[in-house]
Amino acid sequence: MKRVIAALVLLSLVVIGCAVSLVVGQREFDYLIHLAETAEICYRNGDTDGALAAAETLASEYPERTRHFALFLPHQALTELEKSTASLPLILKYGEPLDFTAEARRCRLMLERLWDQEQPSWENIV
């Protein structure tokens, strides 16, 4: 009976862990995607300062906000995204205009894709 209780506790911990990771992940990824989107839209509307502010916030907050995601998300994808977010302010300051739009979009799509892969949807399960 003790072992069954231990098994139920273990399963409950896994379920709670999954639920917490989904809720926290959704919140953080929504925020990061919003920043990438803001940078992209601001730049397209000619608001370079707004784009730079969003890109810098994204670059500075990404490592902190995704710190715990390394527990369950592929490290390579997280590192790739970190490189992309870190490069956004630099491209805006020193790079070509088209490069920034492309990189901001790439960053947003990578964030969306990575989080989509974590959703417990039927497509992802099978």
């Binding site: 399963l11 896994v14 527990l71 369950f72």
Partner: protein, 225 residues
């Protein structure tokens, strides 16, 4: 490299804990489901151990889920016999009163050679001596011999023997063995008194055994020169 080493330590601890939680049956005679879980645990553990790019939890969570499901399934199988039959199957009689059930043998995809090999391993060479041969749910074949083929026991020859029980260790490497002391119906004080009478300290004892008649045997530690 340090990360790989530390991950290996964590995974090792988790596997030991998982197998301990799964119980002794897991390590001994495996049922089909238990065998699958054991193989899966070994495989799941090796992936995050080798590749540091894969999150550790990707290996640990499936292990936890598998062990938990295995334990819950075991508990349900104890409660519901039909579930046990569904998961583990039933024992099948393949020899009944010396007669081979060829249909059962075919259904189990066992050859006569397999049966004969098992018989030989149990020192049975004539199928006519076998009362029952049963394929257990874990795949092992149990043999029950006809009375005239069985070795005579002391009861058969009506020899009276006193039951002293087998000697069990009560001190090992200078430390008291609680379960051994309990089996012999002794106490730690009794053991210490006995050693004192023999002029021997507990720490000097390499092995001390006792049986139910409280007969002891002591092996002292050799003094290194």
């Amino acid at each position: 490299m340090a990360i790989t080493a530390l991950r290996t330590v964590i995974i090792y601890i988790v596997i030991i804990a998982a197998l301990r939680l799964a119980g002794k049956r897991q390590l001994g005679e495996l049922q089909p489901g238990e065998l699958v879980v054991t193989l899966l645990i070994a495989d799941l553990a090796s992936v995050p151990m080798q590749d540091v790019g894969i999150p550790l939890l990707n290996g640990l969570v499936p292990i936890a889920v598998l062990v938990a499901l295995e334990l819950i399934l075991s508990a349900l199988m104890l409660k519901w016999r039909w579930l046990s039959r569904l998961v583990s199957g039933n024992p099948v009689v393949i020899v009944n009163d010396g007669v081979l059930d060829q249909k059962a043998l075919k259904r189990l995809r066992l050859t006569v050679e397999d049966l004969m090999e098992t018989m030989r391993q149990q020192e049975v060479f004539d199928i006519r001596d076998v009362q029952y041969a049963i394929v257990e749910t874990n795949g092992k074949i149990s043999l029950f011999l006809k009375p005239n083929a069985q070795a005579a026991t002391r009861a058969d020859v009506q020899t009276l023997i006193s039951d002293k029980g087998a000697p069990v260790p009560i001190v090992s490497d200078g430390k008291l063995i609680d379960w051994g002391i309990a089996v012999c119906g002794l106490s730690a004080n009794w053991v210490e008194d006995k050693l004192k009478k023999r002029g021997c300290a507990l720490s000097d004892v390499l092995l001390m055994t006792a049986d139910k008649s409280h007969k002891v045997y002591i092996v002292r530690r050799e003094v290194s020169s």
